[in-house]
């Protein structure tokens, strides 16, 4: 194959383009200037200037989660790179494929002495720092290796259990020239994810499910990653099994489907938590059984036989013991399971388990007639105002848990939230990333006031780059989730949770050139949302609510799924 003579910066952009990259979020600086110089003349890659590198990383993450394609972010060395860290850790915890590219001080200076390792200006050991929060990272050491390294990075980030990959790019390699050969060749002998399920395990699982009287499915984020929502639906309908999801699994199954029972866990739907405990067989797909999801492990479905499908063998048996492990891609495993199950006798729709589902639903999820100006009704109304295809992101805290409980996700990749790290400030830049990936869709960030302040500077990015999203600030004037814990578990002794009435979010929005509304009634809320989602400019809707509002139901920390308090 022919080689082309070019410098490292151009070799990088060419490699990214070959990977289909169209957008890059980032902030530049000295150690990455040659790459930005190459961007000047690059026709196909659009650079979106974030206002903080954390925002760039979250935007790349939101881009990836909304589209299923890897998101890319750039930062300079030292502080630029370390500012990415929260965003990378966030992507790692939620298994999101992002590629972070950091400039680095030259590995070899002009006088051919080493610079890396000598505490050069803006040198940070970003490889050392990000080793535990990346799926893979590496530092480039020559121009010739760039295509292969980039291909490898994308391959690792997007296959198996996805995750962030960081590439550190010393400045001298950016400017060096060499004959570069572009191939799609990838060679990593230490990495070979298991995709296809073992037929024997599928047979065992099918037999177990066929014998089940009260089967339940627990779908996690892995179902969304695997694009396996359709397969999940067919298996669920065939088995007539209620489908619960984890928080990260929201959207894997339409939450208005008669078999849907909502999310499980600390702030899960009581219907999901209850039926999970009553089930005799649990089919868990693409979930890592996080503590927030399972509650106290001693009381987590001790009776049920457990089938666990996960692409990451290390997840099997990590937190809970399973009876039938299946290491495979969720899509492949669910289709294989379906092929076997279809041969078995069909379940009758009027079986006792289905009756129990309806009875429990009537008892635990009674229809809500109430139209108070409170998060629950507002989020239920929001669902009606948004098209099915709309993408919702959330911040972290009460706003997030209210969204989990009351905003019904209907499709995969339409509910995007920081689950594993719980990063305040994720939702807004993630919304910008999602809108960049899906410009024709409505994108809304359901925010808390505290979280929004953490990355609010990206209003400038969204306005100037013309990436309009809507931010709904459930403004309780407090770090609400922590205030709730102080209220419930620390005798109402409030410490450091009050945010006061600043900033004025309407003026804040306006000062960035965005649109701001404040709403104090349901009709105003409806009107503001309708205006915002049609608007060509980013809109912030300030929704003042009581600081005393709790997220309930809740399982107190350390308790089991059977100890939920408060009504849905």
């Amino acid at each position: 194959m022919a080689t082309v003579k070019m410098n490292g910066a151009n070799a990088l952009l060419e490699s990214l383009e070959r990977q289909g990259v169209k957008h890059v979020f980032g902030i530049l600086g000295g150690a990455i200037l040659p790459v930005y110089d190459a961007l000047c003349t690059h026709p196909k890659i659009r650079h979106i200037l974030a206002r903080h590198e954390q925002g760039a990383a979250h935007a790349a993450d939101g881009y990836a989660r909304a589209s299923g394609q890897p998101g890319v972010c750039f930062a300079t060395s030292g502080p630029g790179a370390t500012n990415l860290v929260t965003g990378i850790a966030n992507a790692y915890m939620d298994s999101s494929p992002i590629i972070a590219l950091t400039g680095q001080v030259p590995s070899i200076a002009k006088n051919s002495s080493y610079m890396i390792g000598r505490d050069a200006f803006q040198e940070a050991d970003i490889i050392g720092i990000t080793t535990p929060i990346t799926k893979y990272n590496c530092q480039l050491s020559s121009v010739a290796e760039i295509p292969n390294t980039i291909n490898t990075a994308f391959y690792i980030a997007t296959t198996g259990r996805p995750g962030p990959v960081l590439i550190d790019f010393p400045k001298n390699i950016q400017t060096d020239t060499a004959n570069v050969e572009f191939t799609s060749h990838i060679d990593i002998r230490g990495y070979n994810p298991t995709i296809n399920p073992h037929p024997l395990q599928i047979r065992k699982a099918a037999e177990c499910l066929a014998e089940a009287e009260r089967p339940i499915i627990l779908a996690g984020g892995g179902v969304i990653t695997a694009n396996a929502a359709d397969e999940l639906l067919t298996v669920a309908e065939l088995l007539l099994a209620p489908v619960a999801t984890t928080f990260m699994g929201k959207g894997a199954f339409p939450e208005i489907h008669p078999l849907s029972v909502g999310t499980i866990g600390m702030h899960g739907n009581p219907l999901a938590n209850r039926l999970l405990l009553e089930a005799d067989v649990m089919l868990a797909v693409g979930t890592r059984f996080s503590d927030r999801a399972t509650g106290n492990l001693d009381t987590f479905c001790p009776e049920a036989r457990k089938i666990h499908i996960d692409i990451d063998a290390a997840e099997i048996g990590k937190n809970i013991d399973v009876d039938i492990p299946i290491v495979a891609d969720a899509k492949k495993a669910l289709s294989a399971l379906y092929e076997r199950l279809i041969k078995q006798a069909k379940r009758k729709p009027d079986n006792p388990w289905m009756k129990r589902l309806e009875e429990a639903r009537a008892q635990l999820n009674p229809p809500n007639e109430n139209k108070e100006f409170k998060p629950k009704s507002l989020l239920q109304i929001l669902r009606k105002l948004l098209p099915e295809s709309a993408i919702v992101t959330t911040e972290v805290g009460q706003n997030q848990m209210w969204s989990a409980l009351y905003f019904k996700a209907l499709k995969p990749r339409t509910f995007i939230s920081s689950g594993g790290l719980g990063t305040m400030g994720f939702g807004f830049p993630a919304a910008i990333g999602a809108k960049t990936a899906c410009p024709d869709r409505v994108v809304v960030d359901i925010a808390g006031d505290g979280s929004f302040i953490m990355t609010e500077q990206e209003l400038a990015c969204s306005v100037i780059e013309e990436i309009p999203v809507t931010v709904i600030v459930l403004n309780n004037g407090v770090l609400g989730m922590v205030a709730q814990w102080q209220r419930m578990f620390y005798k109402r002794r409030y410490m450091a949770v009050k945010l006061g009435t600043y900033p004025d979010f309407v003026k804040l929005a306006e000062s960035y050139g965005a649109q701001g509304f404040r709403v104090t009634s349901i009709p105003e809320f409806e009107k503001a949302v309708q205006t915002a989602i049609k608007s060509k400019v980013t809109t912030v809707i300030d929704v003042p609510i009581s600081m005393e509002e709790d997220v309930v139901p809740m399982i107190p920390p350390g308790c089991g799924l059977n100890q939920q308090v408060g009504d849905y």
């Binding site: 535990p132 290390a314 048996g317």
Partner: protein, 173 residues
Amino acid sequence: MENQNNKKTTVIAALVENKPGVLHSVSNMFRRRGFNIESITVGQTEQKGVARMTITVSGDEKTLEQITKQMNKLIDVIKVNQLEPDSIVTRELALVKISVPDVKSRSDIINCVEVFRGRVVDVSPESLMVEITGTPDKVDAFLNLMRTYGIIELARTGLTALSRGIKSIRIDE
């Protein structure tokens, strides 16, 4: 090698990419997940670009399983095997500098070295340096004997191991 709390000591042999940073990512993973390394040795292998890590770890069955799985997840780790305790040869090498108070001690020490099939590798008027190779138990036993004379300095390599027979850990299988 089973003891109380169902803790077992196991030897893990891993083939890894022979490049910078790999030892860091492995040891970092152990630290982060709270796994305990008793000893670790690294060296090149007969296969090009491949290094072998021999790691002695202890933990219950579940922990050992997690260790293997988490190691396997590291991209630069090519292959991980838990060696069967009953069918491996383990060795450790120690260099130990022993103080020699008098002539009688000197000959006693040299006798011990012979019994343990060690070698005296350096001699000075007040000290002897001994090279001793064997299972960690044997090395421990020898060192315990030497404590009565006084150990001036000690360097142990940590355990390394291969399984018996024709079988081998290779990356191409």
